[in-house]
Amino acid sequence: MRSVALEPELPADHQPDTLPPDVLASIRLQFLQECEEHLVEFENGLLQLQTGSTDWEIVNAIFRAAHSIKGGAATFGMDRLVEFAHSLEITLATFRSRHSFPEPKLLTVLLRAVDVLADLVREVRDGDTLDQECVRSVSQDLATALQSSSPDGGAESDDLVELGFTPTPVSFESLDAEIRDRWIVEFRPHNALYATANEPLVLLRELHSLGDIEVDLDDSAVPSLSDLDPAEPLLAWTVSLSTSHDEAEIRQVFEFVDGLCDLTIRKEATESIQPAPEERASTLSEPKPIVRKDSAPALAPTIRVDLEKVDRLINLVSELVISEATLAERVLNADMTSAHTSGIAAAFDNLRHLTRDLQEYVMGVRAQPAKILFQRMPRLVREIEAQTGKSVRLVVHGEETEVDRALIEGLTDALTHMVRNAIDHGIEHPERRLKAGKPAQGVVRLNAAHRAGRVVIEVSDDGQGICRDKVRALAIQRGMISSADVLSDGEIDNLIFEPGLSTVDKVTDLSGRGVGMDVVRRSVQALGGRITVTSTPGVGTVLTLSLPLTLAVMDGMIASVFGQRLVIPLTTLLETIQVKESNIHRLGTAAILLTVHGRRVPLVDLGNLLGYGPSRDQQSSGVALLVEDDTGEQIALLVDDIPEQRQVVIKSLETNHCRVAGIAAATILGNGTVALILDVNSIVASRKVRPTPEMGLAVHA
């Protein structure tokens, strides 16, 4: 049970009318954040209803979402938002009152309405102006859909639609009559007044605050004690009030008890007929809520934490890991034997386990369900459907799969692009699909799962697949391959990740414009992941993303090259090989190959490639690391020594510098120095394709 007691800080007589602007601004921001949550709830509810759910609680939840948005928006004077939210609310109120579920056509309009509502929220937050026409047309459609589905042919809905809503409180009109000095107020409360915890004493006090009063109590109706029925209202008061306030203000004192008492207010010696205070507000009744006391699902206790705090926590824990490694190295290296015998080594082992566990749990705090990543997809699909005229169904699996928050942030754009691609290039138009014997509606599938210690996300479609001839032709045209090159189907498919290969005959503004699959791959790799594609012509395409479970930590092999320490990601390392004269094979002067298990793989002089030292091509001994990239292409890297395995904390190189070719990121070793983490994909790629003048590992212009 949470109890938050907040103590006042300002002097007690400080009575501001409004909140200070900075407080208001931060609450406003929070409200906009809350709106996003309400919108999600709204959309999810509609989608559930669309799939045929008959849970009435969903309708309630949707209604509450619209109502909350409207209420908050009214507080901040966000008129357009209020207006639209109100019309949505009326629509939903109608169904609640009819106890009937909205039918499919209305649900579709409602989904569009949610989109418009989201845009209006965004309009308030970002300051762009929304196209009025859009809002108007959806409002109209809502009204039409409401009318057409009304059981009595629309008579009911007409009333509702016509009602305006002005979020203003009741204001009393000023009176025509002269304000006199002396008033007589006669007041006899009913039982019901007490039942609402209203107190005559309080009312009298209020009257007193308006001016001087004389109070006469009439207790003539009070019987003897034995006949007393405490439930009967027995007391009445007559108050003579001398005031400069007008009658409206006097009557307002009794606002809450109006109808719960016998009340007369009159000027002394003059009777004036007072009009009832005019209400300039809506006459729409508060829809009767359907309370289901047993409908609440058990909520797992959660708390809301600032993301900044979590990030700082994670940073600290990462530093702790490094410190622990540093300490261990210094102490253990100082005197190995006594360290072991005195139990220091064992103590450090213990410490290491604790730190690793702590790290794992802290990382887990950032984990969120993939659902958040997939959230925007339904709307995106609806939009692209409208833009392309294709018909697509979105199927989502594995939404509960937990994914590091940074992944969600980093992947949203990439995922958007992949889904766009799938519909744009993959799914065919309905006529073509029917001709091909497929259902007119295409399917795009999103799947998230944990597999082999990684997060795997698949985006698949049942469209036409990758057009290999086109890709190949375009690659030749762009000079990426020559016409003589023989590429496997898989290799051709993977060409879509090359920059400049936007495989589209006309550049639509959906997926052209320099946002190609190469950028998608880059963002996936920046997160420490890999992306692969498989495609079957006529059947469909699957894009598979494989990402690490936690981002900041990686298992690597630390190797030395010309005295510089480099980290090779363990996931890319296949084996360590002793280089001997017997397994080296030179091909002219250009290439050296290493024989590994009967195959020949290129041997790369890593030190030379990175510019650390002169070429060691003539060398015939040493250590080579056999690594493979995302496509399974293998090469061997020549290093100085046999590497050791370490878990390292990934540090960004780009925070203070820029992207360096061949390097994925950096880490800080136990001795406090920086070691660079190798980008195996780019290293392999640089060796794979025949070098042209534009290529190479040149870093600066």
Binding site: S652, N656, H657, C658, V660, G662, T673, M695, G696, V699
Partner: protein
Amino acid sequence: MRSAADKQPDSVQGMSGEVLVFRVRTQEFCVDVSRVKEIRGWTAATLLPHSPPYLLGVINLRGTVLPIVDVAARLNFPVGAPSHHPVIVVVWIETKQIGLLVDAVCDILEINENALQPTPQLSSATVQDLVTALVSADDRMIGLLALDRILPRLEDGIV
């Protein structure tokens, strides 16, 4: 006296009025004090592949990876005897931090805009590019470094 320069040197705008003066070889240079994050001693840097000679590499600054620029090399000074106790001045360039390797830190001077003079035309192109103005104090001529140009945005490698 400030002559009409073709462009307002970017470091002059928003200057705090104080500059940190340091020595590179035999000359003195300075940067706006408000851009300086800290000063620390030298540590060996980890090499970055294929970097220009003035980019010495990166060091660990309490958990952040910090690139180090050899200011003498950046200014194309001939290779000379390195200082015994080189100093790294960590500066802010927009949201990034970089370390400037200098021979020594001299002092902090209070200056006003009248003390600024344009860089003489006779200086080399590099100096013209990297020194936005000259600060004259007593009989010292101190070059105001253009921090925004000290580490040019290195192009991403094409692979």
